[in-house]
Amino acid sequence: MNAFIGFIMGPMVWISAMIFIFGLLIKFIFIIKEVREKEQYLLSYMTVRHSLRSICAWLIPFYPRSTRLRPVYYGVSYLFHILLFVLPVFLFSHIVLMDQSLNLSWPALHDGAADILTLAVILALVFFSLRRRLEPDVRFLTSVKDHLLILMVLLPFVTGFLAYHQVFLYEWMVIAHVLSGEFLLIIIPFSRFSHMITAPLTRAYTGSEFGHVRHAKDW
């Protein structure tokens, strides 16, 4: 058992992290390569200034009109995305493991705060799932896949939460937590989660077309 745990908490972490990072990187390179081969002209409309202008405008909470029209969804979604990165990276338990294997450490979140924030992420995901069932236009767009995507993010947070509180089946909970977290990392480059890198690209292109060619705002 220890050997199995040693594998999933050791090499497997690095393997999934590599798949995550290089998967996205390769995806990025392929996109640029394909644009250069088939749609070279797109690049001639892209400017750094207008790309950043658009991306930044969309990072300011409630600045784009669209986000003000659905403030609850947008607010929850905004916090959710921040927490999705902040929580795992600044979680004490994760930092201790990092310190153990790489002698690297950084300040950690307070455990109680992390606990509440984890609940917030879980609630946000439940909210997304309910919204997919209740809001008619979103429901129309939703397929089973979308619920699966929510489930994939939900799993590591729920299992992590339960494991922290050592409520039941502790060992299995940790193993489920580690495996679901690694699965999530691995699946990112191969699923719509890759909007991590494609969204800034599409935003940058639209921002450039609007800003550079059409002299208009796109938010």
């Binding site: 392929f30 996109i31 640029i32 394909e34 644009v35 081969e37 088939k38 749609e39 002209y41 797109l42 001639s44 409309y45 658009s54 969309w58 784009p64 009109r65 669209s66 986000t67 029209l69 659905r70 969804y73 947008y74 979604s77 997919r132 809001e135 008619p136 236009d137 979103v138 429901r139 129309f140 767009l141 939703t142 397929s143 979308d146 719509r192 890759s194 909007h195 494609t198 969204a199 690209l201 599409t202 935003r203 292109y205 639209t206 921002g207 077309e209 609007f210 060619v213 059409r214 002299h215 208009a216 705002k217 796109d218 938010w219």
Partner: protein, 446 residues
């Protein structure tokens, strides 16, 4: 809504679509769809499809969605779902009923106004995808009849309305003659080599709005411009092929247009108040000819009037006193950012101006553009239903006069005003300028 709404059966209303569908075989359908979706697109298309998280933020952008009590089928992403996603899922093996619905969605439930790409957090260009669907329909030869006829006209005559060459020249000379009764030296110079400006219009102007050419000539004359109009095909700057996905004819139109200007050796092209023609020459046609930007500077009427007024070439005699509001056409506001310039012209010519909300880049589409009105009378009732949100937006202004610097918007808004009994008069910016300006007789050297 109930669960079955996704499978609504489209009525067979359009003869061209029906005859086209009859001719199709399932092999042909999947061959064309896969060819367009995989060979004619690239990473951008894939990114648009892969990036959409089905969040629904685009819904509120669409006037069709807003006009139909937030019916989910009219959300921009839903239109992509009912067309592109399904075509990709089924690898092009779709039924004729599916195609009938796809033609309808792409041609009549989307104005390709691009408002949704401003509401999508990722900036996904859904208008581009609707144009891809139209491209597929074009290659399958199931484009709606009326708009296809305009493309046929383009193909034969290089103008949108079957205007013959002699009719064109005749109309210009007739307007010149009328003008000279009031302004003795007024000219509409044809084919004047090396003029500063080539003035260009869309075919509906000589066909049934010749007065607009008269107005333009008066403005040019009063401002003392060195201008010309071409007598040969290439004078029409409209481009309906751009909206049917007939990229080949669209490219021919743009080439003829720019070559005409190049042969006249003009410094720049000024165009009348038309939005889609501006999109075609400023944004799309140049790309089809492999020019990053238009090879000869293209100036929309809004920019031109603004220039004449600020340079003092035109002076205002008496401001327009009725309460006016301004409609920002998608192709010159979202498409060129001319909304603030238009407001400045209104401020210089009108004394009572009220904004409609939302405005500028966020203005609601007139519901006619993007080729929708060009699909013709069979669809007018439906179009009026789909324009309810626009009607409400107009009514809320309480203005007497609605200024719309775009031909498509102009026609669409007229329809809306009649249908919804709004007591409004639609005017071009040029109409207002013509009414308020000092109509002096230009003498060289003054």
């Amino acid at each position: 809504m109930n669960e079955n709404d996704a499978e609504i059966i489209e009525e067979a209303t359009d003869e061209a679509v029906e005859k086209g569908l009859e001719r199709l075989t399932s092999e042909r359908i999947s061959e064309v769809i896969n060819q367009v979706l995989h060979k004619e697109t690239g990473a951008r298309f894939k990114a648009y499809v892969d990036t959409c998280m089905r969040c629904g933020l685009c819904s509120d952008a669409c006037s069709y969605f807003l006009s139909n009590d937030r019916d989910p089928r009219f959300s921009p992403a839903a239109k992509v779902k009912q067309t592109i996603w399904e075509m990709l899922d089924k690898k092009g093996k779709v039924s004729k009923d599916f195609l009938r619905r796809a033609v309808h969605i792409a041609h009549l439930e989307c104005n390709v106004c691009r408002r949704c790409s401003m509401y999508c957090p990722f900036g996904i260009d859904m208008a581009y995808m609707m144009l891809l669907v139209r491209r597929i329909c074009h290659k399958l030869e199931i484009t709606p009849q009326y708009i296809q006829d305009t493309v046929n006209s383009h193909s034969v005559t290089m103008n949108q309305m079957w205007v013959k060459e002699d009719e064109w020249i005749d109309t210009l000379q007739w307007q010149e003659e009328d003008g000279r009764e009031e302004f003795e030296d007024l000219r509409i110079p044809l084919d004047k080599q090396g003029a500063d400006i080539m003035y260009s219009v869309i075919a509906p102007e000589p066909k049934f709005q010749a007065g607009l050419i008269y107005q333009a000539a008066v403005i040019m004359h009063a401002a003392g411009m060195n201008w010309t109009m071409p007598s040969r095909p290439g004078w029409d700057n409209s481009n309906m092929a751009m909206f049917t996905g007939d990229n080949e004819i669209s490219g021919r139109i743009a080439r003829t247009f720019f070559e005409t200007a190049a042969k006249l050796n003009v410094k720049r092209i000024v165009m009348g108040e038309c939005g889609h023609a501006f999109r075609s020459t400023y944004d799309v046609g140049n790309r089809q000819l492999a020019w990053t930007m238009a090879p000869i500077e293209v100036v929309h009427a809004i920019e031109f009037y603004h220039e004449l007024l600020t340079a003092g070439r035109i002076t205002i005699k008496e401001k327009f006193s009725k309460k006016v509001t301004l409609h920002d056409p998608c192709n010159v506001s979202r498409g060129r950012g001319l909304h603030d310039m238009a407001r400045k012209i209104v401020a210089m010519t009108c004394s009572d101006f009220v904004e409609m909300t939302p405005n500028r880049e966020h203005n609601l589409c007139c519901g006619a553009g993007g080729g929708v009105i060009n699909c013709g009378p069979p669809y007018k009732k439906e179009r009026m239903r789909n324009n309810r949100a626009k009607a409400e937006q107009l009514a809320a202004t309480g203005a007497e006069v609605l200024i719309a610097p775009c031909h498509n918007c102009h026609s669409g808004l007229e329809d809306i005003i009649h249908h919804y009994n709004l007591n409004m008069e639609v005017k071009f910016l040029g109409d207002v300028l013509f009414e308020t300006m000092e109509k002096k007789i230009y003498r060289p050297g003054e």
